[in-house]
């Protein structure tokens, strides 16, 4: 839930940029309402218990070995994420609809549906921080608005 907490803290900055935010979670609508609601993010969470959108985006799956025997890169990323307020919740990882091996991702989509920026996680900790996401939004909207 650290990701949601961090994104909630930056909501006003996304709003200033006139960018909507949608957080896809691996659970039912009821689970999303309950859990995301505890973090004041129920309206931003989009339930995807079947992980359909993850599959459509082509998000990869990691392996148990890759999580247990983390590479130096993953260790470094975990350290960065912890410093930025991200971490992995073991308890939430084992909820009924959660696939602990499925990797995270993010996409900036312009009005009408074209992808302006895309990130597919290469390992479990590979989701940019909220601050980094804001930077990508600023950069790409500027390019889009001037092209």
């Amino acid at each position: 839930m650290e990701s949601l907490t961090q994104l909630r803290e930056k909501l006003s900055e996304f709003e200033k940029l006139s960018v909507r935010l949608g957080c896809i979670v691996q659970g039912t609508a009821a689970e999303a309402a309950e859990i995301c609601g505890q973090y004041g993010m129920a309206e931003k969470c989009i339930p995807d218990p079947e992980k359909e959108s993850y599959a459509k985006l082509g998000l990869d799956r990691t392996t148990l070995g890759a999580m247990v025997f983390a590479s130096d890169e993953l260790k470094a990323r975990r350290k960065e994420n912890r410093a930025a307020g991200f971490s992995v919740s073991i308890k939430k990882s084992f909820m009924p609809h959660c696939d602990i091996f499925l990797l995270p991702g993010a996409a900036l989509v312009e009005r009408g549906g074209k992808i302006l920026w895309l990130h597919r996680g290469a390992h479990p900790g590979d989701l940019p921080s909220a601050e980094e996401l804001l930077d990508r939004v600023r950069e790409n909207l500027q390019i889009s608005r001037h092209s």
Binding site: A32, I46, P47, K56, S89, K92, P104, H123
Partner: protein
């Protein structure tokens, strides 16, 4: 080519190329899907970007 490429700092548009063949990339249409909201209504993800730019984050489990 490795199955998973490193994401270097400053190269934020890079994706996991070897595993993303056939999947949407920058410039393509974002994937849409139908979901059920808290009120039991069917909604589309694309409703978000119908009115303006949208950042979609796919969280691991519940983040």
């Amino acid at each position: 080519m490795p199955a998973v490429q490193r994401r270097e700092k400053g190269d934020e548009n890079m994706c996991v190329a070897a595993t993303s063949k056939g999947y949407p990339e920058v410039g393509d249409a974002a994937p849409d899907f139908v979901y059920q909201d808290g009120g039991g209504n069917e909604r589309r993800l694309s409703e978000l970007w119908d009115d303006g730019p949208t950042l979609i984050v796919w969280l691991r489990h519940f983040g």
